[in-house]
Symmetry: C2
């Protein structure tokens, strides 16, 4: 699943050349109310495109919204030779990718992510889908976008929380890649962001992801490396949601990366100085996630029911060092509880 | 898209070995009310499987039925390591294949076609999908079954009309393959069917189809050969449906094969003796499709709007001779009208 990822802050010209080169008989653009207002005006090449608007929010990444998108595509008279441009965050690129991949058994689509998390997490890698019966991404397919245009031109209007959320996925990629990448990211100062330099860092980050995805497009093996931080992160996210105090996905991943780095230190001698550097960066930028030992059983239960777990065991990707990972580690309950103890110490909670 | 097609009248043992070899944590079987009653009891290996029943009929090959199937899969606790067995005709294998291909981004499925049309047309080749907003197979994906088990054990209770409908697709494959295959099929007598010999003929037929599909799984080029008989056949089928007198799909294909053979004769010197043999066989076994010259404009209009047509032209696969086909022939209106005239002469209608 080779994907054509284009890094450019001249998004309109880049998208226009794809549209002109594709000789499409119709061009549609999927937006939500926010990206219609904030992002679409930056792309004059879409001024004649059929606009398909959906309601924003992960709650609406469902079958009703998908069915609405399909209906609009039928109304536009779309054929197998039409193009869908997905302009938005992960919700828009996930749902739009699935809509395109299943319309007449698959038409071309281009992802134009408008958020950092969307760019580094959702838009590249071929995962598409919707939530179903309250389960995240339960229905979907693996389908590569014709192209993904990665830029930072849409970021200046985003809340800093969104940038930090996406940055956590970049931290993950850096830790999977090398010590140098990891160190470079820890230098970033969210109070003073250089967007051109951020684009360079995003390119490095996505190349790590692509290298892994190309080796294992359908997640049979090595792609599970990308799950680093997510077994614990998803459990934190679900617990927070259940408590009525939802946290951004990327924040949960950042905390999850710390816990899984502790586990890596306990089980595989991951260097303690890297663990401390990570914990300090996460604490300074993401704050703490407050748990007590009374929450451990609930958290372990959530980890056992993770989509990627098998037969009720807790499964993590771990690191011997930055750049040296192992997938499919079965984690003992006591080790995980010890790691949660250390996590609480590191965050003084 | 290499597909594992198994030809066996010992379906239970064959399916059982797939289930045991796959080490699945759950097995589900998708049936309709008919195949639950008539076909499922022939397969003791499924006695512990979760049964998912849907309402039969192409009218129900829709989003509501798909959503029901997905919900049942969630209720069964299906994971990525579960198996769905689709036991039924083309409606069940099309919808079930799509349900499996999109559940958690794709789980294994096995097709066990219970009709001849299902076996030679729908179950093999990786096309899955549902109808949407009244449009046939508008939503779907290309996804290969883990295995397809082709047998004749379910056919004895089927009406002869169903066998003839499936046989028309076999005629098409034979004409694409060789003069010998074509001649052999014309010897078949529907009043006295040898089911073991039929299984041999089905195997020959499906190998022709598979050879084409493997070269072009997503229908970019040569796979369009399988559209032989279908540009005209679909128009006949749609007209009959619109007139409130629906005809079986395979019957429409049989008549479409005759019209497109006439066109092949006019434009590419397809041999007249093969044309006459085909017309006689179709007339004897499928009867006539009654049209007058007043219907021509309506039929041409339907052909222009065929899913596989491009920019409003009429597009057919044609034959120089049996085994020697050309795809993407644009047909002039006058040639098509002349072919319809000759079709009416051949059927004396």
């Amino acid at each position: 699943m080779k994907q054509n990822v284009l890094y450019s802050n001249n998004v309109d010209a880049t998208l226009n050349s794809i549209i002109e080169g594709g000789n499409y008989n119709a061009v549609m653009v999927l937006v939500d109310a926010n990206t219609r207002l904030m992002a679409l005006p930056l792309l004059p090449c879409l001024s004649d495109a059929h606009i398909i608007e959906i309601t924003p929010g992960d709650d609406n990444k469902n079958l009703d919204t998908l069915s609405h998108a399909w209906s609009e595509m039928v109304k536009c008279g779309a054929t197998r030779h039409s193009l869908l441009v997905n302009l938005g965050g992960g919700m828009v690129t996930d749902l739009g990718g699935f809509a395109a991949a299943t319309f007449k058994r698959g038409i071309d689509f281009v992802n134009v992510p408008t958020t950092l998390l969307g760019a580094v997490d959702a838009a590249v890698g071929g995962k598409t889908g919707i939530n179903f019966n309250g389960l995240k991404n339960e229905i979907g397919v693996f389908a590569p976008a014709k192209a993904v245009i990665v830029s930072t031109i849409f970021f200046s209007t985003l809340p800093q929380q969104e940038l930090k959320s996406g940055f956590a996925e970049m931290l993950k990629h850096a830790m999977l890649h090398s010590h140098e990448s990891f160190e470079r990211l820890l230098q970033v100062d969210f109070k003073d962001i250089d967007y051109d330099f951020l684009l360079t860092l995003m390119q490095e980050s996505l190349q790590v992801k692509q290298h892994i995805v190309e080796q294992d497009p359908t997640e049979q093996g090595i792609r599970k490396a990308l799950n680093l931080g997510h077994t614990v992160g998803h459990a934190f996210e679900s617990k927070a949601l259940g408590d009525g105090k939802p946290v951004p996905h990327g924040y949960a991943v950042a905390w999850g990366l710390v816990v899984e780095s502790v586990l890596s230190h306990i089980l595989l001698q991951f260097p303690s100085n890297d663990l401390y550097s990570l914990a300090r960066f996460v604490k300074d930028n993401y704050g703490a996630f407050h748990i007590t030992c009374d929450h451990y059983d609930q958290l372990l239960d959530l980890m056992r029911h993770d989509k990627k777990s098998h037969s009720g065991e807790i499964n993590c990707t771990l690191l011997k060092s930055c750049g040296d990972f192992t997938i499919n580690n079965t984690i003992k309950e006591d080790d995980l509880k010890a790691a949660l103890d250390i996590f609480r110490d590191l965050f003084e909670c």
